[in-house]
Structures are given as C-alpha cells and as structure tokens.
C-alpha cells in the first residue's frame, strides 16, 4: 500500500493526521504532509484507510 496526496485539494482539515499520525503530519501552514512516501507497513493499513475515508476534501488516494 502507498498513499498519494492531492496537495491542491488539501485545505488543512488535519483529519488524516488525526486518523493516521504515523503517516500524515502537518506542514508549516497546517496542510497535510505525507510522512511515509514509500510502502506503508501493514500494521498501519487500517489507520490509512480511515484517513482516506475521513478527508472532507477527498484529497487522499490509496494505491494497492
């Protein structure tokens, strides 16, 4: 599993960082930042799916 973030759609709700803080963080202005750009460890898959399904801007895509 990998994640793609659409930086143009992200408006900094931070709901991904709340759902999966190991994978998503905050940049200087509070928009999302992807912390794991490569393969996501299996233990975090549930959290990443929740990050995707909690983003109000639908800015996260999961690639499997």
């Amino acid at each position: 599993m990998k994640v793609l973030l659409d930086y143009d759609s992200c408006h900094g709700h931070q709901m991904c960082a709340i759902a999966a803080p190991e994978v998503f963080g905050s940049d200087e202005i509070g928009n999302a930042k992807v912390l794991i750009t490569g393969e996501i460890p299996a233990a975090l898959h549930i959290k990443v799916r929740r990050a995707e399904s909690n983003c109000p801007e639908r800015a996260i895509t999961i690639i499997e």
Partner: protein, 402 residues
C-alpha cells in the same frame, strides 16, 4: 408583524432560523427540509435566503467560491450603517475575503494555527479549565455553559492576542452582539464599533511600544510584496479572532457538556478507552457543529433546480450537512468510535476554519478536564436549558448537578 413573529406556514418556502423551535432544536427542521421534495429551502424572511440541507449540496456550494462568494458571510443582511464610515473596510479576513486577496489574507495567519503551533496552548488551557472548576466543584451544581464553556475560548484567544484577561466580559458581550443577537441591527453595529475601536487602541499602543513575541505586533510588521499590510487587515484579523474564535468554540464545548450530562455510557466509554478521544472529538464536532455560514451568489445560476439570482444569500448549514443520512450512517446517533467521518463542522474548501486545530484542542481539553474532576453529573432540568441559534448554535444556560 416582523419576520420573527409570523408563524411559519411551509418550512420549505418560509423557514425562520430565528423561530424559537428552530433555535432550540434545529435538527428536526433540517430533517424535514432535507427529506422533502425541496431539500434546498427558500424564505423571504430577513430579505430572503436559500437553505441547502444535504451534505453534497452544502459541500458543492462551499467548494464553488467563484459562484458563491464571501462578500457577506452572516446569515442576516449587514447591520444598518455597516458599509459606511471610517471602519467600512474592516472585515474579518480571510473569512470575508475572496480570491485573489484571500490567498495572502489566509496564508499570513495559517502558521499560528497549525497543530504544532497551537500545541503550546494546551497546558494553559488545562490550567484555566481547572481554575474554573475550582470555583464551583464544592457547590455540587454549576452552569456548564455560563460557568464553564463560556469562559474558555475567550481567555485562550485573549492570551493569543496578547490583550488583558480583564476584557473578558466586554469581549463576550461584543461577540454576542455580533453573532447571537443579529436581528438587532443597532446592537450589532455597536458591537462591531466597540471591537474595532478597542483594537485601534491596541495597535496604537504597539506602534508606540512594539512588543516581542506578540501576535498583533507581528501582524502590524508583516509585509506583502514589500509593503506593510494595511491597518484594515490588522484590525480585521483581530475582529476575526474574537468573532470567529469565541462564540463558536464555546458553543461546541457547551453542546458537548450538555451531551455528556445525559450520556453516562459515553463518559464511561471515554474513561475506559482514552484512546478514543481523537475520533470522539471529531464525532462530537459532527453532531454538534455550531456554525452556519452564508455566501452571496455572484451571478444568476440554476443550482439543483433552484433559480438563484445574483446577490441572493445562501446559508451553508454545516450542522444539517453533518446529519445527512446519505453521507453518515445513523446520523443522529453519537458513535464515539465512528470510522467514516468526513464531517464539515469546520467547512470545506478554501475557507476551512483557520482556527480548527485550536478549537479541537480547546474542546478536548475542556471535556477531559471536566470528566477527570467531575466524572458523574447530570442535567438538573432538561427543560430549563436555553440555546442560542441562527449563526451559531449552542447552550447558554445548562445547569448540572454532581
């Protein structure tokens, strides 16, 4: 008869967001509209407005900022005299800004509201919550709204702005004048003038004696394209901090206190599973989203079959969107570990609430601190709870015993 006194005939063509039943409990009204043949209602009251209630419609309007502009963002037309005089150009940027200015209006304030920046306010917020509880814990009764929730955001914002806490009562009164009593045009205008004049004083005192690590001094010294930002921007951001940062968060904290007073099972669940706090806060924000914002239609358009005209007001009822069963399973139920929750309590698109991370922090700390100190409590009389509504929904009197 004034608009507030006429009985409502058909809610889809004549809604009144200031009718007592709508203020006290708007959710059945939203459901009635949402599930009718007319999920975007219209009213002629208060110079007319549209009221979309479905999640997809509210989000689409929030996203289409060129069609649905932020020239006005309140659910009522501007107070008489608001567009005249020396303060006419003072808004509440970036909420009241449209692109292209919106970009720099927002960019300048976002860093102070990023999660890593607001984290510094957590210990102080916890201390102030504890100090409020110290005042009433031995009495066995308290007003969870006016003895607790009401005092938290105003003190956090005052600290952030670097202004004295002794202004608390004035700030609270002005903010209520600007947001809660907005059918009273004269009080709104007076509140707005008081806010601007207060901050003109603060700006002048800093111009004479600049301060280190001070929000207002930093704003005054900010340059955009080589020029210092205009004074209207500085005053506008200060206005925003009060108007958007106080009544809203206090309403959310109050609604959550009202909920917790009636749900011992949720208090127990959070006590036994503190790891649920992050999702619990989002779920409470979904169900008790306090804010409805407005937009002004830029040009004639047919939106979902509704003939909207240039200049029409559209109310983005985020509390209605957050309870749309098309988007949320069992939408009226509080499910503290809800997994799918694309709620829009903080809006959607380019105007996402700039203070959302601070609001979340205040809400979580306020609830955690209360539940640690007062794990068991209940409403004294559910029928005696009073509410504010319209622009911002939340309890104003909420007596509990413990």
């Amino acid at each position: 008869m004034t608009d507030t006194q006429k009985p409502v005939t058909d809610i889809t063509t004549d809604y009144d967001i200031f009718a007592p039943d709508f203020i006290n409990n708007p959710y059945p009204r939203y459901t009635e509209i949402r599930e009718s043949k007319c999920p975007i209602a219209h009213t002629e009251r208060y110079e007319g407005s549209w009221l979309p209630t479905r999640y997809d419609d509210v989000v689409a309007i929030a996203q289409e900022y060129e069609t649905f502009t932020s020239r006005q963002i309140l659910v009522m037309p501007p107070a008489n005299g608001r567009s005249e005089g020396p303060y006419a150009a003072v808004g509440a940027p970036p909420i009241t800004s449209d692109p292209p200015d919106h970009h720099w209006h927002r960019r300048l304030i976002l860093p102070v509201f990023a999660p890593q920046a607001v984290a510094q306010y957590e210990p102080g917020t916890r201390d102030l919550c504890n100090a409020l509880i110290d005042e009433f814990i031995d009495k066995g009764v308290a007003d969870a709204a006016s003895d607790y929730a009401q005092h938290i955001p105003v003190r956090v914002i005052s600290k952030m702005l670097g202004v004295p806490l002794t202004m608390e009562d004035e700030f609270t009164d002005w903010v209520r004048g600007a947001l809660e009593n907005i059918t009273d045009s004269e009080r709104r205008m007076k509140s707005f003038r008081s806010i601007v004049e207060y901050f003109i004083g603060e700006v002048q005192s800093r111009a004479a004696n600049p301060r280190e690590d001070d929000f207002i001094t930093q704003l005054m010294n900010t340059e955009v394209e080589g020029k210092k930002v205009p004074i209207e921007y500085v005053l506008g951001v200060c206005n925003l901090m009060l108007v958007a940062g106080i009544d809203t968060t206090w309403s959310a904290i109050g609604s959550c206190m009202w909920h917790m007073a009636q749900h011992p099972e949720h208090r127990k669940q959070l006590r036994e599973h503190p790891d649920l706090w992050p999702t619990a806060v989002e779920e409470l924000l979904r169900v008790y989203a306090p804010v409805t914002m407005a937009r002004i239609v830029d040009h004639d358009i047919e939106f979902q079959g509704c003939p909207m005209k240039a200049g029409d007001r559209v109310l983005m009822a985020f509390p209605a969107a957050n309870r749309d069963p098309r988007q949320f399973e069992n939408p009226d139920e509080v499910i503290l570990d809800r997994q799918n929750n694309r709620h829009v309590a903080f809006g959607s698109g380019i105007h996402r609430c700039a203070g959302s991370n601070l609001a979340r922090l205040e809400l979580r700390v306020a609830l955690q601190t209360w539940l640690e100190r007062i794990p068991e409590f209940e409403l004294i009389d559910p029928s005696s709870v009073t509410w504010a509504g319209g622009q911002v929904h939340g309890p104003r009197k909420c007596m509990v015993k413990f």
